[in-house]
Symmetry: C2
Subunit: 256 residues, 2 copies
């Protein structure tokens, strides 16, 4: 892998410059270096992303080749190395020894938009609660709530988790449906197989937030599994459950 692209979060340019120097010493060919996702090109062997999970989410939509995220401070769920571990990454690159972590994209049909984490339909603070009707192949659910999240396994550790949702291992082929502040007792998450199309209707237009990006107000949308998936390269010792334990202390041995 010698043809690289680099996408970085504005403000991290100085770090990026260091990385570029080190890569050039390895005779790497860098075809793009930008903090503007529109300038990402999809003909590299590997796209390096310097920033948090949000930056990885942005870049992932534009590339089909593997991606590697570098984050300051602690690791995110989608980043594979901390910024301080760049030399470690270069060693792994030498021996091309990476674990391939495949993540599935989903799409919102009406917006013709992909997502890797979740789509959130939510009312504005001054509005009353939504009546939400969720239809799928084998049935339907109705919610009177502030909103609803339809999350991928990748997104299950994001907003859905904050609302009480379960943790899905990345290789589970399913959606997670989690209501936001539901009235009555319908507060549990529902897990649906990812080969079904899900259609949602709300009693009045609500904001559709797709991977953190607000697309404005709609009273109807439908999602299905996309043909697109992305491969995140990880160190060989990567273990999803380890990242859950480190980040949330979930299922961590406190007695060791």
């Amino acid at each position: 892998m010698k043809v690289f692209g680099i996408f970085y979060k504005p403000g991290l340019k100085s770090i990026v410059d260091e990385f570029v120097q080190k890569l050039k010493k390895k005779n790497a060919h860098i075809v793009f270096l930008t903090s503007n996702e529109k300038e990402i090109e999809d003909h590299t062997d590997l796209t390096l992303v310097i920033g948090g999970d949000g930056t990885v989410l942005k870049a992932a939509k534009y590339v089909s080749s593997p991606i590697i995220g570098f984050k300051g401070g602690r690791l995110g769920f989608l980043s594979s190395y901390t910024i301080d571990e760049f030399d470690k990454f270069l060693e792994h690159l030498e021996s091309n020894s990476f674990y391939e972590d495949k993540r599935q994209f989903f799409e919102v049909l009406e917006l013709n938009s992909l997502y890797l984490n979740d789509i959130v339909a939510i009312r504005e603070p001054h509005q009353k609660m939504l009546d939400i009707n969720v239809k799928f192949k084998d049935g339907s659910f109705y919610f009177h709530a502030d909103g609803i999240i339809i999350s991928t396994p990748t997104g299950s550790t994001a907003y859905s988790l904050s609302l009480g949702g379960p943790i899905l291992l990345p290789n589970v082929k399913a959606y997670v449906l989690t209501p936001i502040a539901p009235q009555f007792l319908a507060s549990r998450s529902v897990i649906l197989p990812d080969d079904e199309k899900i259609s949602v209707e709300t009693s009045f237009p609500s904001h559709l937030i797709v991977d953190g990006h607000d697309f404005g107000k709609f009273n109807k949308f439908s999602v299905r599994k996309s043909e697109k998936s992305i491969t995140i390269l990880r160190p060989l010792d990567y273990d999803f459950s380890k990242s859950i334990k480190e980040k949330m202390g979930y299922g961590k041995n406190y007695f060791k």
Copy 2:
């Protein structure tokens, strides 16, 4: 379908006798009629189960041909008709118009025992909390808790739900891992793909309850997807989400 077996919950004999009269009028051949699961034979076209979900669970282990449950009062998750709907069933039988609801069995390797709902590892009331280590292909989780449940999608509406777990549609290919009274904040359910073997170790022997049956104390067990599945015949208008709405009011339109 003319060759029937009938398995019933003790105490429901008089109802069963009525059913038998009606079936004989339809020239049905009844090869077994018992409330003792050991007497169930596996060469019928269809096994009728009169009783609750527990009775269906018992029968399902012994047959490979389809099963239909009849329950008094309200429907259970595994029953397809109420006892009062027997004539309706006979009509559906005439036209052989049923929806096939396939449910996957899982197995506990050490006990050589199948389960359709869940396996529960739990301490006795006088004992201290368990240290529980759960290993799977891609990682492990550790819990300090009263116990742990490994549930199938079918079992996700049983004990796991009572402990805060999500609802899985029957056709999701996954396990649900739900801790019982965990210390620290590891209280969320974890969803794992059903093609992985799960191994559990506890700091001291705990009761293993498999589909409600206590197998005694063990400090180790492992589960995997079984080759066995069972087909539950349903009325054509069967809809899992409807049964969830009826039974728990989950995602039900209260304004209609």
